[in-house]
């Protein structure tokens, strides 16, 4: 396996720079790929002709930050006991002020070095070396280092931990026979970390040996369950609230699930430089969006976790509030389980697809704020997205497919979806109206989120929301590769898997896009999902809050936020 010398640029970076110069890729693509391949964020920004920290989407504001103040944020305060088992981005937000990731996804959807100062990938993308930032101190006075990273990875890959990171870093796992038998006499298999996958090179360097190329390894390290806990986290009780040790600039002062979380700035200096806020206070206003609105109106909060699409215009009516919007790869998919009748019938799936007008659904349900979906789960903001011919609503075609499927008189089907957020059930209602003219009667089974998530992998037809992921290959690997844990459609297509393997080895975005075009076509043609839109997300903040932005995965980056 070829290994590059320390500090050398990845061989693909000069080619990338040339493409940027010729205008074949934009700055965002250049920054994303260059940092992904281990180039420092600052160097990549300079090479792209930008100042470090300057966004590619908007001009930087030349204001002098002011120290002090308490940022009051409305968000559900959920339990944050163990970062490894986080299943909501709110939990990540609560812990992120104390515990930090190796890599952070910034506001431009680009993976930037964080606790890892830089990294290098071998040319075959199977060996990744991460150089950790030196001089970082835990709040208990210990030095941060390779032992912390090794501890976290080993813990994540252990099935007893129950961490979704096991799937996120599946290129470091293997399935073994436990020697036990289940009640049917079949061997009980277990997924564990591969032997030798995690190597401590020295106190500040960790090397990962993957069993297959994984282009998205740094991006995965930026996901919210991948916050790095202290190496004695388990020995000291395994509870971040009772023992809040972290490398971040804030420390936990007060915490009550469902009520509030209060953080104060650590007295010692932070590795990332100046921190302006004295305090961050999260206030839980429950699930009633109007309570949040009332809190803004009476100046009880400065910003929020999310502004629902229905409230964007209402927020504008309150003086001094500013809405922030960002286009994301977040979406909802009406997905069909291809192993369950009647959705094992491809002609029926095609008939449903032919009835749907995605532009119209986006307009009706999400007021046009986002981009129409194309039934392949690769977003226009993904770097490797390939544009395909637009899908068109065609009832004649739908009826032909219905005859072919054996349902010339139409069919009754049922979709499961969650009650909140309401745009999800509204999308289902819009679909139901569009299916009616073809004779497809879609019943909508609205249920609490907790109930839906119990059956999201098994229901024949369900509406599932998917969060933002920076790369298209990440999404396809998670959701549509044969046999993977989150493959909710039970889709299994060897040709698709082979192409996905190929895409995962292509650093060159253009080359990857060509393969992605085939992958997208396959998914669209098999019509296993109906994806009406890519949605923008919104936050609202008082105009005195500076340096704030809506991040693509709804992460809170408050280290440089200040109050005017």
């Amino acid at each position: 396996m070829p290994e590059r010398r320390k500090g050398a640029l990845h061989p693909h970076i000069p080619e990338l720079r040339e493409k940027l110069r010729r205008g074949e890729i934009d700055r965002r693509d250049f920054l994303r790929t260059a940092t992904l391949l281990g180039m420092s964020s600052a160097a990549a920004y300079v090479m792209a002709g930008l100042r470090p920290g300057q966004g590619v989407t908007s001009a930087a504001h030349a204001q002098t930050p002011k120290k002090g103040g308490n940022l009051r944020v409305s968000m559900n305060v959920k339990a944050i006991t163990d970062p490894a088992t986080y299943d909501w981005s709110e939990k990540g937000n609560l812990a992120r002020h104390m515990t930090e990731p190796l890599v952070r996804i910034n506001k431009d959807n680009i993976a930037e070095p964080y606790l890892a100062e830089r990294w290098e990938a071998s040319e075959d993308l199977k060996t990744w070396t991460f150089h950790l930032r030196k001089g970082v101190k835990w709040s208990n006075g210990d030095d941060f280092g390779a032992d912390d990273v090794v501890f976290n990875f080993e813990r994540w890959l252990d099935p007893a931990t129950g961490s979704s990171n096991q799937g996120r870093f599946s290129s470091m796992t293997e399935t073994i026979d436990t020697g036990k038998k289940d009640k049917d006499g079949k061997p009980v298999m277990s997924t564990v970390g591969s032997a030798g996958a995690i190597e401590k090179v020295d106190d500040n360097t960790v090397r990962f040996h993957l069993n297959r190329p994984d282009l998205s390894l740094p991006e995965s390290m930026g996901d919210y369950p991948a916050l790095i806990a202290h190496r004695r986290f388990s020995d000291e009780g395994g509870d971040l609230v009772k023992n809040p040790v972290g490398t971040g600039p804030f420390m936990l002062q007060d915490f009550a699930v469902g009520e509030k979380a209060v953080y104060t700035r650590r007295p010692e200096s932070w590795w990332g430089g100046d921190v302006y806020l004295d305090q961050i206070t999260y206030v839980d206003h429950g699930d009633d969006p109007s309570a949040q609105l009332a809190a803004f109106a009476s100046d009880q909060i400065d910003t929020n976790y999310r502004t629902n699409i229905e409230q964007v215009d209402v927020m504008k009516s309150i003086p001094n509030l500013v809405n922030y919007e960002t286009v994301t790869a977040q979406c909802g998919v009406a997905r069909m389980k291809v192993t369950e009748p009647p959705f094992d019938n491809k002609a029926l799936r095609k008939a449903i697809q032919a009835c749907i007008d995605n532009d119209r659904i986006l307009e009706v349900v999400y007021f046009g704020r986002g981009a129409p979906g194309e039934d392949h789960h690769v977003a226009p903001i993904h770097p490797e997205y390939a544009e395909l011919p637009k899908l068109k609503q065609d009832y004649e075609l739908a009826k032909k497919y219905l005859v072919e499927a054996g349902y010339p008189d139409g069919i009754q089907i049922r979709i499961d979806c969650v009650a909140n957020p309401t745009w999800e059930q509204n999308a289902c209602k819009a679909m139901a109206e569009m299916l009616k003219p073809a004779g497809i009667d879609l019943a909508i089974n609205i249920m609490p989120g907790g109930t839906y998530w119990d059956r999201w992998l098994t229901t024949p037809l369900g509406f599932t929301s998917w969060t933002h992921r920076p790369l298209g290959v990440q999404v396809l690997n998670l959701a549509y590769r044969s046999g993977v844990a989150w493959n909710e459609t039970s889709y299994a297509n060897p040709e698709f898997d082979k192409l996905l393997d190929e895409a995962g080895t292509l650093v060159n975005v253009e080359q990857r896009r060509q393969v992605m075009a085939k992958l997208q076509q396959i998914l669209q043609e098999d019509a296993i999902i109906h994806q009406s839109s890519w949605r923008s997300i919104f936050i609202t903040a008082h105009e005195r809050v500076k340096g704030i932005y809506a991040q693509v995965a709804e992460e809170h980056h408050y280290n440089k936020v200040w109050l005017a």
Binding site: A79, E259, F296, W486
Partner: protein
């Protein structure tokens, strides 16, 4: 009398045991795995199985019921799935918050309702009676969610006099209590007023009141000494019932103003299928219901000796 109280307490204990069994079985039959709720929807089957085994969920149902019941009577309600802390740590502070809300609500409702009810009942059909009755009907007819929106629009968005939410995250703030209490008082005082009025009006038509008036007793003395005691039996029942309502029926108000009370806790637990919290909340609610009924039964015997002697 002691036997009477003991009987009532025995009934209460029996009700609690039966309800505990019903609640436990109902929640056991709720679809969905506890492990999925704890580990999240993205956990693997293997991870869920390990969790269920570690936390004793693979034991037989009856073993788990008796374990739960014996822990429950010792004050250990289990760990909340949503909050990831012992249920008691969440339950008691939330219950206390609702007690505070209920106290101020009652502190206004009881004197206002009794005075208005008595005034209206004293002169049945008079202008004052009609005004009080119509006002009571109107306020009781407006649901809490509607008056919550109306008062928010007026006092938060319009006049900007009051805070819009009541999270009390920076400690107790009386101003934050104004809107929730106002909504509850407006919704409930009319009901108690009308019950008091009806009771008072009935008493005022009885022979002994007429006799008292005719024999020349001062009107004030007739009302306070003779009418009021009998007229208070019905309102007493209503007030005792309102304690139950204030405990778990204030969900709408607590939800609308983000007040961290018992009703909101029960709602959150139900939406998140937080089994141990639901069980504990339900048991507390049943206990309060049974206890207030027992108290009411004992209270009647003092207000009406005929009940005591029978």
């Amino acid at each position: 009398m002691a036997l009477f109280i003991l009987k009532r307490l025995g009934n209460m204990a029996l009700i609690m045991v039966l309800v505990s069994l019903a609640i436990f079985l109902l929640l056991e039959l709720t679809p969905g795995s506890v492990a999925t709720k704890v580990l999240g929807p993205y956990s693997s089957e293997e991870q869920r199985q390990i969790w269920l085994e570690t936390h004793g969920y693979l034991e037989p149902l009856w073993v788990r019921y008796f374990n739960w019941l014996s822990n429950f009577v010792q004050g250990e309600f289990g760990d909340s799935i949503r909050f990831k802390v012992p249920v008691a740590e969440v339950l008691w502070p939330r219950l206390w918050n609702t007690v505070v809300l209920g106290f101020w609500t009652f502190a206004i409702i009881i004197p206002v309702s009794l005075v208005l009810g008595v005034l209206a009942g004293m002169r049945e059909g008079a202008l004052l009676d009609r005004s009080i009755s119509v006002t009571s009907i109107i306020t009781t007819s407006v649901p809490e969610f509607a008056s919550a929106v109306f008062f928010s629009a007026l006092f938060v968005f319009g006049l900007k006099w009051l805070p819009g939410t009541s999270t009390m995250n920076e400690g107790f703030d009386p101003l934050q209590l104004v809107l929730p209490v106002l909504v509850l008082v407006v919704y409930d005082f009319g009901y108690v007023t009308r019950m008091t009025r009806a009771s008072m009006a009935e008493v005022m038509t009885t022979q002994y009141i007429r006799t008292a008036v005719l024999k020349g007793l001062p009107y004030r003395r007739v009302i306070l000494k003779h009418a009021l005691r009998n007229a208070l039996i019905a309102p007493f029942t209503i007030v005792m019932l309102q304690i139950n309502w204030l405990l778990s029926g204030v969900i709408v108000v607590e939800f609308a103003f983000a007040y961290k009370g018992f009703g909101a806790l029960l709602l959150e637990a139900a939406l998140n299928q937080d089994i141990y919290v639901i069980e504990a909340c339900a048991m507390v609610a049943v206990f309060v219901a049974a206890a207030t009924q027992t108290l009411a039964d004992i209270g009647y015997t003092y207000l009406n000796p005929r009940i005591r002697f029978s």
